[in-house]
């Protein structure tokens, strides 16, 4: 079963002669373990498509299935639950909660999902240590570098073991090397655990991580090609068994 099935989806903003179609009859399937890079110029509809896949925006026409479930049939509370359980988000501006430490930021999705605080803390700590942030657990976002912030965001996106990670321009606010390192780290981590990743970016260097590269222009998918997928994706034994 596809993790994501986008079926003939369009999104139009406004009405009448001011209507703008941001996404135009797009269809796309993403499977477990896929790393999909969506590229395109500004205003091409990449982020709108990502928002719809992330159930943050509803399509004007067409439908989106997440793990076989039609998202258009779900109530807002059910969509929140779906996002909490199935998705991890990585944002261009990191979007960490400024009042919380790195550890507490990673704990947020776990606590929201009802994981006991002690267990959530232990999981968050482990996740951050795996991303080489064990020494930054108690630091607030303002005390972290851009790369560290993005790694915290990655740890947060992985906290609830999501099947799908959605990353919006994850390298945009980082220097070239840090950006690439962090995104490769995200992809490798996801790939090892057989999670699907959809990245929206202008950054051509991310082709090295992607299995598939999709180009979108004027809201339409115009090309799809294989990425380099030059990653160490040795899967964890648990993931293989499942």
């Amino acid at each position: 079963m596809n993790v994501v099935a986008v079926q003939d989806v369009s999104k139009t903003f406004g009405a009448g002669h001011t209507a703008v179609t941001a996404v135009d009859h797009v269809s796309l399937n993403v499977d477990a373990g896929d790393i999909v890079l969506i590229m395109g110029p500004s205003g091409s509809g990449k982020t709108t498509l990502l928002s719809m896949i992330g159930t943050l925006m509803s399509p004007t026409t067409g439908r989106i299935l997440i793990s076989g479930q039609d998202t258009s049939t779900l109530a807002p509370a059910q969509l929140s639950r779906l996002r909490l359980q199935e998705f991890g988000f990585v944002f261009q501006t990191f979007n960490l909660l400024s009042a919380l430490t790195a550890e507490e930021n990673v704990m947020m999705p776990l606590i929201t999902a009802g994981v006991p605080r002690k267990e959530a803390r232990a999981k968050a700590r482990t996740a951050l240590e795996q991303l080489q942030l064990g020494h930054r657990l108690r630091n607030l976002p303002r005390d972290l570098s851009g790369g560290e912030k993005q790694r915290v965001a990655i740890a947060r996106s992985l906290a609830n073991d999501p099947r799908l990670i959605l990353a919006d321009e994850p390298t945009a606010n980082l220097d070239a090397k840090t950006g690439q390192d962090v995104t490769l780290l995200l992809c490798e981590t996801a790939c090892r655990e057989n999670r699907a990743v959809i990245i929206v970016s202008h950054d051509q260097r991310l082709r090295t991580a992607a299995k598939r590269v999709i180009t979108i222009e004027d809201g339409r998918l115009t090309a799809e090609e294989a990425g380099d997928h030059n990653l160490n994706c040795r899967m964890h034994p648990e993931s293989v068994q499942s």
């Binding site: 982020t47 990502l50 928002s51 992330g54 943050l56 925006m57 807002p76 509370a77 929140s80 639950r81 779906l82 996002r83 909490l84 359980q85 998705f87 988000f89 944002f91 261009q92 501006t93 979007n95 909660l97 400024s98 009042a99 919380l100 507490e104 947020m108 999705p109 606590i111 929201t112 999902a113 947060r156 609830n160 919006d168 321009e169 945009a172 606010n173």
Partner: protein, 368 residues
């Protein structure tokens, strides 16, 4: 989610200080006013409670010592002592007397200290003589301090110069206070030849008190009012006079508290709109977010309550020392309902931020 609410509050210390300060001010206002109301209510009944009587006998229609005049001929005593079940019936004379002293208006409720009948003595004498002699008067210590009248000073009471012989306590009632002169001086001041204001009746041990009262009221010229009822009638003066003012100030206090919490939490919500959007995006439900905002408001309110209550107690103690008229009594019951009001205030003031929160579009988080 309480930890997020607390972290959000603590992150913005200035805003937290404003929230807590606003609520503290509101609680201070409400608690002090309620304390004053309670203090004055108690004070007005305090002296009357010490007067030995099962029934106060008044002229028909008179219900208290202040609102309605009561004048009874001394011959009523004969009637009262003849009523079966009455143990004692003693005259009690007193009324308000206003005069000027050192350019200030002073109001005393002069009571005849009738040592012969053991009626009309001060509740507690704290300094000077306990029983006035002819030409002397005992005044309340609060009046002594506020009007700078010392023991040994002479004051002109209704045209008579009386020397202050002592200070009593427990007889200060807002704009006037009880004062005690000899029976002869009081009769001269009160101008009650052959009359008195009330009779104090005690009932024999095994007699049916209500039956005795009915027999007394068979005389259409008098009413028999139980001691408790008489205390309540007098206390109601404070209630009737000050309750509307207290209610207005209470509403002002609540409005101030709600406005401060509401605005600070609202501005915090606006500033953190993006973060709330992130939380919505990662799967935090609207309900959970509303809880965070309400918890923020309630936490600020509880802190404000604690600060405000502590301030109210401190102000009450300090003001009582420097301003004798500031008589307060802060009861646990009042502290409890004010806490309830503070809690409700916090929840209601969260409604505006919650409405704002509901409108945050999580898709915005994808915009840089």
């Amino acid at each position: 989610m309480l930890f997020l609410a607390i972290k959000n509050l603590v992150e913005e210390k200035t805003r937290l200080l404003i929230s807590v300060g606003g609520v503290a001010f509101s609680v201070l206002l409400i608690m002090s006013i309620q304390g004053l109301y309670q203090g004055w209510s108690n004070k007005i009944g305090e002296y009357i409670r010490t007067v030995p009587a099962d029934y106060w006998i008044t002229q028909t229609g008179a219900t208290d010592m202040f609102h309605t005049p009561s004048v009874l001929p001394l011959t009523v005593r004969d009637f009262l002592t003849g009523v079966p079940g009455v143990a004692t019936a003693k005259p009690f004379s007193g009324r308000r007397v206003a005069f000027a002293h050192n350019g200030r208006d002073i109001n005393l409720y002069v009571i005849a200290d009738d040592t012969e009948n053991n009626v009309g003595a001060p509740a507690r004498v704290v300094e000077g003589k306990a029983v006035p002699d002819k030409g002397e008067i005992i005044i309340d210590r609060v009046v002594g301090r506020s009007e700078n009248i010392r023991i040994g000073d002479t004051i002109p009471v209704a045209g008579r110069e009386l020397k202050v012989a002592g200070y009593s306590e427990g007889g200060y009632i807002l704009s006037f206070s009880f004062a005690f002169a000899t029976k002869e001086d009081a009769e001269s001041i009160l101008q009650l030849p052959g009359a008195t204001n009330f009779f104090l009746v005690t009932v024999k041990e095994n007699a049916d008190a209500s039956g005795v009262a009915s027999r007394i009221e068979a005389d259409p010229a008098v009413d028999a009012i139980t001691k408790d009822r008489f205390v309540e009638n007098n206390t109601n003066i404070v209630r009737d006079t000050f309750l509307p003012i207290i209610l207005v100030l209470l509403l002002i206090g609540i409005a101030v508290g709600m406005t401060v919490i509401g605005l600070t939490i609202f501005t915090s919500t606006i500033e953190k709109a993006r973060e709330y959007g992130v939380l919505k995006a990662i799967g935090v439900s609207n309900r959970q977010l509303y809880t965070v905002v309400v918890e923020q408001a309630v936490t600020a309110a509880v802190l404000g309550y604690l600060v405000g209550a502590a301030l109210a107690l401190a102000v009450s103690a300090a003001a009582g020392t420097y301003v004798p008229e500031f008589i307060t009594e802060i009861r646990w019951l009042d502290a409890a309902w004010i806490f309830g009001v503070t809690f409700v205030m916090a929840v209601v003031s969260s409604l505006l931020p919650v409405r704002r929160l509901a409108r945050i579009d999580p898709a915005e988080v994808f915009r840089a």
